[in-house]
Symmetry: C2
Amino acid sequence: MRRSYGQYCGLARALDVVGDRWNLLIVRQLLMGPARYRELQDGLPGVATNLLTDRLRDLETAGVIGRRLAEEGNAIAYALTPWGAELREPVEGLIRWSTPLMTRGPGGDHFRAEWLVLPLSALLTGKPAANRSWTVGIAVDGVLVQVRTTRSGTEVSPHDGRDLDAVIRADAAIVLGLAAGVLNLDDTRALVDIEGDESALRAVFNPPTRS
Amino acid sequence: MRRSYGQYCGLARALDVVGDRWNLLIVRQLLMGPARYRELQDGLPGVATNLLTDRLRDLETAGVIGRRLAEEGNAIAYALTPWGAELREPVEGLIRWSTPLMTRGPGGDHFRAEWLVLPLSALLTGKPAANRSWTVGIAVDGVLVQVRTTRSGTEVSPHDGRDLDAVIRADAAIVLGLAAGVLNLDDTRALVDIEGDESALRAVFNPPTRS
DNA sequence: CCGCATCCTCATGGATACTG
DNA sequence: CAGTATCCATGAGGATGCGG
């Protein structure tokens, strides 16, 4: 663990635990589900193996993650503890805050379509619910993410094979702009490829009752 | 700025901006209002002057804070930009997450009563509103923080001199436990000193309709 | 292969002294 | 008061080794 701030302040103590470099990105990966060491390394381009090991130990000691035997074979899987899973709220808060940084586009940065699951969840949750259920697919870089809106809320996940009312194919920045509400479908018509029932996409991205 | 993660991911880009050591603690200080260099240094025990200067420059370049002339004299004051002020949400999320780390008590850590304003705001906001307005004082280490509940919400600030319906004097850990709902007034009777209308304190700490 | 541990280099952080 | 300058300790990042 990096040197403690030594302050009796909630933010300082939270950062003593998850403020070290890579820690919150490890949590991001595990918020999408348990993962093995190799999967974490793949999802965190640039992390050194010694750092990843160190951070996993630190987070385990602090009670944020746990190690257990993976489903298949006798390998190790890492997963969030219940307390660790509660980091979803501040992590999604930071993701919402980062919207101005994301709508600039990816530049030369690494990108994995799986990284869209959390931002879409953070941005779409809390929007007014549609008057019926819709399941739409968002295709970025050949990866299909699924958004399901019901009257009780919105959930985002990798595509599980179920029927989709519509699919939109676009760049990540466009998708995030649509989800954040800084872009709308009409303005981006030339930049997106739509199949299926377009009203489903409107229900997801443009809340039905705006006025 | 520390080396970028180089990931087109909202969390990674947010951390590229505010993930460096001390950055979020500087934001914490500025969430309580604009401050001068000296005040920041005082509120961040242990920070080296070169680091504070570096971080202030980084945050200014990124658009999180701004410099302007202070009210008095020709000194410089630092303040959050509108975008920087939006960090309140993720910061309060981290503070709420840190509750288990805080109820252990301060240990040997530095403590300033002003640091209670944000946690109390994060923990008390969103609790069911009382059926009338109350203004209570919370005295820790001789510093008086004021909590005002109205039907429209709860606001926390340093005491501004107005009349208080009640005052509670206790250790910081007790106060945070009460605000987080892991302690209640009846269990901590021996550890707190109460003046004034106790029902005002119950309205603030123990939501009126629990069942 | 997977899951690390070790070694090495260099950038960064921290403490202190100093200056316009 | 509001920072610079300097020095040293620490941590990050990359390469490689190695047991199961």
